[in-house]
C-alpha cells in the first residue's frame, strides 16, 4: 500500500470509532505512523471528520418530540384495545345470539315434531321411498313375524285379510325416536324402480309412543307427497300402510 492508496482508504476513517477494526484502515493507519506527510494529512482529515460529526449532531431535536411519541402511542394502544374489546364483545354477543336461536329452533323442532304422528308418518314414507336394505328377505309372512320377534320388533300385529293375501318381500326394523318400528314390505305386482324392494309398506309400532296418532280402528287416509297412507289403531298397535297412488289404490289392501 502506498501513500495515495492509504489516503483513499482513510477517507472513510473516523477517529475513536470501530473503524480501526477494519483491516485495510488498520494497515493505512500503520503506514501513517511511519510517513510524516501522510500523518499530517491524517491529522487534518481526523479533525475535519470530528468537526463534521459534531456539526451533524447539532441537528436540533424538536422540543416535546419524545413525549409526543409516547403519548400518541399510548392513545393508539388505548384505541386499539377499545376496538379489540368491542369486536370481542360483538363476537361473543353474536355467538350467544346464534346459540340461543339454535337452541330455540332445536327445541321447537323437538317439541313440535318428536314423537308426533305427523313426524312419524313423514319419516316412514321417506324411509320407504329412499334406498334401503331389507334385514330379512322372504315371501313367508310367518317367517317375517319370527324374524321380527327375534329382533324385538312389534310382532303381535294383525294384518287385514287383503294384505294377508298380498305377496310379502321381506322386513326390516327401523328406529324412530328411539323406538323399534316393524316394517313389512309387500309387492303389489307393479314393476319396481331400481333399489326399491317393495311397493307397499306396513309399519307397526306401539301406539303409546306416537302422540296424536289416530285412535280409530277404521283407517284414515292422508296424502304424503305422491304417497297415500292409511293409518289405524288396533290392539295397542299403530298401523301405517303406505303406497304410491291414491286412496283407491290402498283401499284394496285393507
Amino acid at each position: 500500500m502506498n501513500r495515495d492508496e492509504a489516503k483513499i482508504i482513510l477517507q472513510l476513517y473516523r477517529p475513536n470509532t470501530a473503524d480501526v477494526d477494519d483491516l485495510q484502515i488498520a494497515e493505512a493507519l500503520a503506514l501513517a505512523k511511519g510517513d510524516p506527510e501522510l500523518a499530517r494529512w491524517l491529522e487534518e482529515h481526523s479533525a475535519r471528520q470530528n468537526m463534521l460529526r459534531e456539526k451533524f449532531r447539532q441537528i436540533e431535536i424538536p422540543a416535546g418530540l419524545k413525549e409526543q411519541i409516547i403519548s400518541e402511542q399510548a392513545a393508539r394502544t388505548k384505541t386499539v384495545r377499545r376496538r379489540e374489546t368491542t369486536v370481542a364483545a360483538l363476537a361473543a354477543a353474536a355467538i350467544v345470539i346464534a346459540l340461543i336461536f339454535s337452541a330455540q329452533f332445536w327445541l321447537s323442532q323437538h317439541r313440535n315434531d318428536s314423537n308426533m304422528f305427523s313426524n312419524y308418518q313423514n319419516q316412514m314414507v321417506n324411509f320407504a321411498t329412499s334406498p334401503y336394505g331389507m334385514s330379512f328377505v322372504t315371501n313367508d309372512l310367518r317367517q317375517i313375524q319370527n324374524y321380527l320377534a327375534q329382533n324385538h320388533g312389534a310382532t303381535d300385529y294383525t294384518l287385514p285379510a287383503s294384505l294377508e293375501r298380498t305377496a310379502a318381500t321381506g322386513c326390516a326394523i327401523k328406529y324412530w325416536s328411539g323406538m323399534r318400528v316393524s316394517m313389512i314390505c309387500f309387492r303389489t305386482g307393479k314393476s319396481l324402480p331400481p333399489n326399491q324392494q317393495g311397493d307397499l309398506w306396513l309399519f307397526v309400532v306401539d301406539r303409546a309412543f306416537v302422540k296424536d296418532a289416530p285412535d280409530d280402528a277404521s283407517p284414515q287416509f292422508a296424502k304424503v307427497n305422491q304417497f297415500i297412507t292409511a293409518t289405524w289403531t288396533q290392539g295397542g298397535k299403530l298401523y301405517l300402510l303406505a303406497t304410491e297412488g291414491d286412496e283407491q289404490a290402498i283401499r284394496k289392501f285393507l
Binding site: 487534518e44 424538536p62 402511542q73
Partner: protein, 166 residues
C-alpha cells in the same frame, strides 16, 4: 417486542438519533417528526418479532429508512439525479472551514446528495454506525456501503468546499 425491552426506554434512547437521521434524509422538520413517529409506531406493532435485543438500533434505523424510501416513492416531486463519477480523493476542506458551517448549510449540502449516498453518509456522521451496521440498515453489501460512502463523502465535501463563505 424484543424481550425485556420497554417502549418508553426505546423511545428515550433512540428518538433523538432517529430524528436526526430522518431530518438528514427529509430535511424537513414535520416530515422528520412523522418518520420518527411512524418508526416507533411500527416498533410498537412489530417489535415483538425481533428476538435479538441487540438489534434494536439497526431495526429502528432500517425501518425509518424504508419508511422514508416508501414516502419518497409516493411523492413524485423529487426527481432522481445521478451523481457524477466517483471522486478518488476528497476535495480539500479545512477543519476551520467546517467549523464555520451551520447545521442548515450542512444539511442543505447533504440534501443535494443523491438519495443512495445520503443515507449512508448520514449514518456515517450522525450515528457513528459501523460499516457493517450501515450495510445491514440499508440492506446492501459491505463493499457497496464503502463505495457509496466514498462517493457520497467526496460529493459532500465538494459541495461544502464550494460554499462561498468557506
Amino acid at each position: 417486542m424484543a424481550e425485556g425491552v420497554d417502549f418508553e426506554d426505546i423511545v428515550a434512547r433512540y428518538y433523538a438519533p432517529l430524528y436526526q437521521f430522518a431530518f438528514s434524509l427529509a430535511r424537513d422538520e414535520p416530515d422528520a417528526c412523522d418518520l420518527t413517529q411512524q418508526t416507533f409506531c411500527i416498533w410498537a406493532a412489530k417489535g415483538h418479532q425481533l428476538r435479538d435485543a441487540s438489534k434494536v438500533k439497526t431495526w429502528l434505523f432500517t425501518t425509518l429508512h424504508r419508511e422514508f424510501l416508501g414516502s419518497r416513492r409516493r411523492q413524485t416531486r423529487f426527481p432522481h439525479v445521478e451523481l457524477e463519477g466517483a471522486t478518488d480523493e476528497l476535495p480539500v476542506i479545512s477543519p476551520a472551514s467546517v467549523n464555520r458551517l451551520d447545521v442548515t448549510q450542512l444539511t442543505g449540502a447533504l440534501a443535494q446528495l443523491d438519495e443512495i449516498y445520503r443515507a449512508p453518509v448520514a449514518l456515517f456522521y450522525l450515528q457513528d454506525c459501523s460499516y457493517n451496521e450501515i450495510a445491514e440498515i440499508l440492506d446492501v453489501p459491505l463493499g457497496t456501503v464503502k463505495s457509496r460512502l466514498t462517493r457520497g463523502l467526496g460529493r459532500l465535501h465538494q459541495l461544502l468546499s464550494d460554499k462561498p463563505n468557506l
